[in-house]
């Protein structure tokens, strides 16, 4: 089965030194190796942004989609082959901004796939504009006076919209991230893994240190029940924090917010998808009857 070195392309990633994307790639590569999946067992899809440059850094059956449209693209792929694990990589601008509507609809469709968001709270590739997850009042080249809007709360939206697996990771904790990826891959249904991925070049507020001082693990929280949607929603509200808040004032939970053991996916609703479409085409056809006529 493919090892990390097989899945990683020889190409040197072009991300800035210290970028959170490196750890996210490391975690995913290691989980892919552990999973024992062969190259044919999964497909990867990327949106457009720094995260999307990852399309060049994996050896995988891969698709680099339009900016914001990775989820519909992945949906098309997933529907052609229910046996395939589809892993989607998106940015926050990409997947929560321009592709925000697809996010909501993919959640409610419960398409069986893993949606990984490289959430750096900034538009990285286009040089540092505010993104839908930038903290309110943050100053960026597109918001010299500070961001006016409230940030999107991806975990809250997903939980409220009926998502069947919702997790949040931090690129500074690879082992923890790996456990989230593992669970997401195991989940039958749409799995959201929103990952805080510090952009060391453009986001000087939400740095590795900023997160390290604030994150805590849900699984270590006494009495937290990830099968309780209300509890998950309540916890998701701590996404919102003051830009200048002291570490002990804004604690940020990471881990699995919510999971459903039994989940009915879109594919489950389509009995004709009991096997990949291309296998339908391969079904042996008896043409002797037709030939008899001649």
């Amino acid at each position: 089965m493919p090892k990390v070195a097989d899945i990683q392309r020889a190409l040197e990633p072009t991300w800035c030194p210290g970028c959170g994307n490196y750890n996210m790639q490391k975690a995913l590569l290691e989980v892919l190796e552990e999973s024992g999946m062969d190259f044919e067992d999964y497909a990867m899809v990327w949106g457009i942004g720094c995260h999307g440059n990852g399309a060049d850094f994996y050896r995988a059956q891969g698709f680099h989609g339009l900016h914001g449209r990775a989820l519909p693209l992945a949906t098309g792929i997933a529907l052609t082959n229910p046996d395939l694990k589809v892993i989607v990589n998106m940015g926050d601008g990409d997947g929560y901004g321009i592709g925000g509507n697809h996010f909501i609809h993919s959640v409610r469709r419960n398409i069986d796939m893993v949606a990984i968001y490289h959430n750096n709270q900034i538009y990285g590739l286009t040089t540092g504009q505010a993104s839908p997850t930038s903290d309110q009042f943050m100053q960026t080249p597109s918001t010299p006076g500070g961001v006016v809007e409230e940030p999107v709360n991806p975990v809250g939206v997903a939980v409220a919209q009926g998502a069947t697996f919702v997790a949040r990771g931090f690129a500074g904790d690879v082992e923890h991230l790996k456990s989230l990826y593992r669970q997401a891959l195991d989940h039958h249904g749409f799995s959201l893994v929103d990952v805080y991925q510090p952009c060391v070049t453009w986001n000087k507020v939400n740095t590795f240190k900023w997160f390290r001082d604030r994150v805590y693990k849900l699984e270590e929280l006494d009495g937290y029940d990830p099968t309780n949607r209300t509890m998950a929603f309540e916890k998701s509200m701590s996404t919102f924090h003051e830009l200048t808040c002291a570490p002990d004032e804004c604690k940020i939970p990471i881990g699995v917010f919510y999971r459903e053991a039994e989940s009915f996916t879109y594919q489950d609703g389509l009995p004709q998808l009991d096997r990949p479409m291309w296998k339908h085409a391969e079904a042996p056809r008896d043409i002797s009857k037709i030939l008899e006529a001649y």
Partner: protein, 357 residues
């Protein structure tokens, strides 16, 4: 004020728009128009206007639709892939007879393409920005000064003819710096009695809409619009002519490629080749008069573009078979060099000499 300032093309577009009375700018990040939005972000608030980075290009163009329907001067800018997304909104604006300015700082395509300069959205701008029977006025600057002047003019044209106007620039013009003289800010803007501003019972209801379920009504709006287009074709065609009077060969090139064509023309003249340049300023309405007249005098036409050959179709329509129309272009973000362009001119010159062969 005739003081010159040094500006990037993208910044000049933004500053001139504000000076033209634009107070609503809706954008979405994309290379290579980034500086335009960044400039707007800094300046618009101080000018008493609104800069909003939308969640997508589709949102941005619809915000322009809304602000324009409410009677304000509004603009959006993007680069090629983003303009494709705006196409739907632009079609609706054309159908609702709404003014508005759309800036395309083109990059190579199709698809995600690249981020280097290109002119491959000529068809999109002049033929099919969106669905339905409609046109935009399309202006093609070739210097930073023209970026300034054309966007300033674009707002007036948009209001006068009640239609969207596009500035078709490219990454090269957007990124380069040149000295410009900025126009004096406009203090008076045209009245918009058609705008939906609320009437407090004092005038009949204004309706801004592109939906007509009765085919006859829809046809009537199309016919009216195309009569307007005919007036625009008669009044607004613009082209710059350079050394065309005695030219045997006329090069036709717009925007950034016209700068390269101009140096090639100069070099060819030094070599004794009689060649001139026509630079279409309005891509729609296409300057058929200038090119038609050139076709009457010249022996051959060469179209130079940063694409696989798009404007050349309009040139051929204008020339109408009178003289051969050749094409030279580079695509994908590659800028043709003056040397290559000169070689293309020389090939035509040689074939003209050997014409009796």
């Amino acid at each position: 004020m005739t003081e010159k300032v040094l500006m990037k093309g993208n910044e000049a577009l933004a500053e001139a728009a504000i000076r033209a009375g634009c107070r609503f700018f809706f954008g979405y990040p994309i290379t290579p128009q980034t500086e335009l939005a960044a400039y707007m972000a800094k300046r618009m608030g101080k000018a008493g206007g609104v800069y909003l980075q939308a969640e997508s290009e589709i949102a941005a163009i619809n915000m322009v639709y809304g602000a324009s329907a409410a009677g304000k001067r509004a603009m959006t800018s993007s680069s090629s892939p983003g303009i494709s997304l705006k196409g739907e909104g632009i079609s609706y604006m054309a159908g609702a007879d709404l003014p508005g300015v759309i800036i395309n700082v083109q990059r190579g395509g199709p698809g995600l393409g690249g981020i280097q300069p290109s002119q491959s959205d000529y068809f999109q701008a002049t033929r099919a920005t969106g669905h339905g029977d409609f046109h935009l006025i399309v202006l093609a600057p070739s210097t930073v000064q023209e970026m300034t002047d054309y966007v300033f003019r674009a707002f007036d044209l948009a209001d006068e003819y009640r239609m969207p106007v596009m500035i078709l620039a490219d990454g090269m013009l957007g990124q380069m710096m040149e000295p410009v003289v900025l126009p004096e800010p406009k203090t008076e803007l045209p009245e918009k009695p058609w705008a939906v501003t609320g009437h407090r019972g004092e005038r009949p209801h204004n309706v801004v809409n592109s939906l007509y379920l009765k085919p006859e009504e829809l046809e009537d709006t199309n016919i009216e619009r195309f009569e307007r287009y005919e007036r625009i074709k008669a009044a607004e065609q613009r082209a710059e002519e350079y050394l065309v009077d005695d030219a045997d060969i006329v090069v036709v090139a717009f925007g950034a490629s016209s700068r390269i064509a101009r140096s090639a023309v100069n070099k060819a003249r030094e070599k004794g080749i009689k060649v001139g340049l026509i630079r279409p300023i309005t891509l729609w309405p296409f300057p058929v008069n200038a090119i038609g007249a050139a076709a009457d005098r010249a022996k051959a036409i060469l179209t130079v573009e940063m694409n696989m050959g798009q404007m050349v179709e309009d040139v051929r329509l204008a020339v109408c078979g009178r003289v051969p129309v050749e094409f030279f272009g580079r695509a994908g973000g590659i800028i043709p060099t003056p040397v290559e362009t000169l070689a293309a001119i020389e090939r035509i010159a040689a074939s003209l000499e050997g014409g009796a062969r």
